[in-house]
Chain length 352, copies 2
DNA sequence: ATAAGCATTTATAACGTTAAAATATATGGG
DNA sequence: CCCATATATTTTAACGTTATAAATGCTTAT
């Protein structure tokens, strides 16, 4: 039983003993309770820093009921392209130095996801929840509103009660995309939409239809596939469509994967993108800057979305009114500034 | 003070009271302590299920010191293509139903990352750690070994003390890739490598050199860029290289982004991939199945890597010897079976 | 001088769990 | 019939924190 080096980590008791005051006093001093003499507070805080004290999360949590945890329900959607990572990065960035931790829960389908949320609320597993793939009549949102549990959804619902959300301006995207196609001379536009149940399907459709109706061009909604379909299914479907008469000469593709799949399909048919068919994609990743031929694209900045989601959630937890907690993110024409990389040798040319 | 509906969640005390036994008995019955009468155990467990009891994590953690948390240090690397997501998905899948939660910590550079790990160990923020971007002399590994704290690294070190890891067989990849290029008639091979400090650079180089030496062909290591370089930097560098004399006619590209960047560069030069230059990439995402012209590719299954990482970590926490906790993941020729999607309407053709 | 008032601090209890020690009950041997 | 030995359960204490009530000391007004 010789554990000489294992200096056990300091607690409030350690500080209290060292200073000859009570544990309660330490607790309040650290909490900056104005009831406490300014001097004592400073002294305790100094000592705490000296000893490298950090509060025990478990004890705090047990006592106060606050978990200091934010839950992210990670969408199951197999976006080939780092959907999750970017969002997570954004959330983490905002959570940095707040004392909050990000716990990722995988989402195994809509029903399972609801269950999980109930567990989180019931067992107080977190102080707030972030999730995506929102539907107009989202059960999760209804449940969370009812339970008065802090959350921010990525995407809007259409419930009567307003709720906090961050959503990309899909209306603007679809409209701009369609207008771009029309400008380039397309006579019959096609659009690929998300599955019926998602709210943003309506937004996309609305934006698309606005542009189409204004210009008076033909249009169609790609049938038999959705944004969630497997890439191969999308490719196959599009190939089939373009082999049939009256194929569109302009496509709106609101996702990286579907964009790639469509592009591949068109190329495989021997058609020339930009001549035979125009494409506009919504990308979150920057792939289309690296794919040839170059395709018109608009950006959804998921990293910023993540930051915003976390930001609004923290504000919600702090008690801000819902009216201040709704954010529609503008679509960007250019990619967000790329993240810092960690290859200093290459970044800063060696001086030697 | 009327909170009629808010049935507070049941604790062991609730169960104990209801059954007329002591709290301690409940605790041990739930833990399936063989000291406890079989009958009591069954009864308690039944009652617990009936009441919907679930243990308070904070209390357990405070009492036992076990956090039931796994930390993932999320690499800062701006892989455009879902590095993080796939890994996270794999880890989550393995952690499902184990009672462990996954907490994601962003990594803001190598030094910061070491700090974070120290905090985790010192403040017992988790029961185990997973991280990547391993170096031969990795300080984090040295520290964790020293502290005897459970971890699994993604990638190997070259330390004398063996440690748990999951690593992709980069030697095999580079060798197979180079051999493929040689088979296709390439006379001068180029390879893009990760920054010097990473262990897997050596593995890639070794595999590459083995193939090159055996075949006796020319080779070069792309200079001035690394796998971590910005996509634009890679494109620019490769364009410059191919404008100069004795350019390679075969390239090994061990990453999705670099593969795309190289492909774009070559196409922008007016060269024809597959005729003027052969490429073999290592992809983690499946993008290259959707990019034209088709490029030879090998797969690294990050989702499986994540599962394996979590699996080994759990075993390590349970006390398994290190010798059983090292896994070199074979490179795959075909993409891993794609994940389940959640668009049932499209998956199972409607019966109506 | 005494009581009331205020500022500061301490003491107590509790959050829900579990590990260890103590107790009660039953079983078997002498 | 009593002691020893299992077996099953209860009691006690603690993990580190914080909210509340109680106590202390000190000033000020009466």
């Amino acid at each position: 039983m010789s554990e000489p080096s294992k200096t056990k980590r300091p607690t409030q008791r350690t500080i209290a003993a060292k200073m000859g005051i009570s544990v309660g006093a330490v607790s309040r001093a650290l909490a900056n309770d104005p009831q406490m003499a300014e001097e004592t507070r400073a002294l305790v805080q100094k000592m705490a820093k000296e000893l490298g004290y950090s509060p025990d999360r478990a004890a705090q949590r047990l006592r106060t009921g606050r978990t200091q945890v934010i839950n992210l329900i990670l969408p199951p959607h197999e976006e080939i392209l780092g959907f999750g990572t970017l969002l997570i990065r954004g959330i983490s960035a905002r959570l940095e130095n707040t004392g909050y931790h990000l716990v990722v829960l995988p989402d195994f389908g809509p029903d399972k996801s609801a269950e999980q949320i109930q567990r989180v609320v019931r067992d107080r597993l977190a102080d707030g929840i972030i999730f995506s793939r929102t539907t107009p009549d989202d059960n999760r949102i209804k449940f969370l509103l009812e339970a008065d549990f802090p959350f921010v959804s990525h995407g809007r619902s259409e419930l009567a009660t307003p709720h906090p959300f961050v959503d990309c301006d899909n209306y603007a995207f679809a409209r701009q995309a369609a207008e771009t196609l029309i400008d380039r001379g397309a006579k019959r536009l096609g659009i690929l939409l998300p599955p019926e149940r998602f709210t943003f399907r309506q937004h996309l459709l609305h934006g698309f239809m606005t542009a189409v109706r204004t210009a008076g061009v033909d249009y169609e909604i790609l049938d038999g596939i959705s944004l969630d379909s497997d890439a191969n299914a999308i490719s196959a479907n599009i190939q089939k469509r373009f082999a049939a008469p009256d194929a569109p000469d302009g496509l709106v593709l609101p996702g990286d994967v579907s964009g790639l799949a469509a592009l591949a399909a068109i190329q495989d048919l021997g058609l020339v993108p930009g001549r035979d068919v125009q494409l506009v994609v919504k990308q979150t990743s920057g792939v289309f800057d690296l794919v040839r031929p170059k395709i018109a694209s608009l950006y959804e900045d998921l990293s910023e979305a993540g930051e915003k989601l976390a930001d609004l959630l923290l504000k919600r937890i702090a008690g801000a009114p819902v009216s201040e907690l709704q954010y529609i993110q503008p679509i960007a024409g250019r990619p967000p500034a790329s993240d810092t990389l960690f290859d200093p040798q290459l970044r800063a040319p060696s001086v030697r």
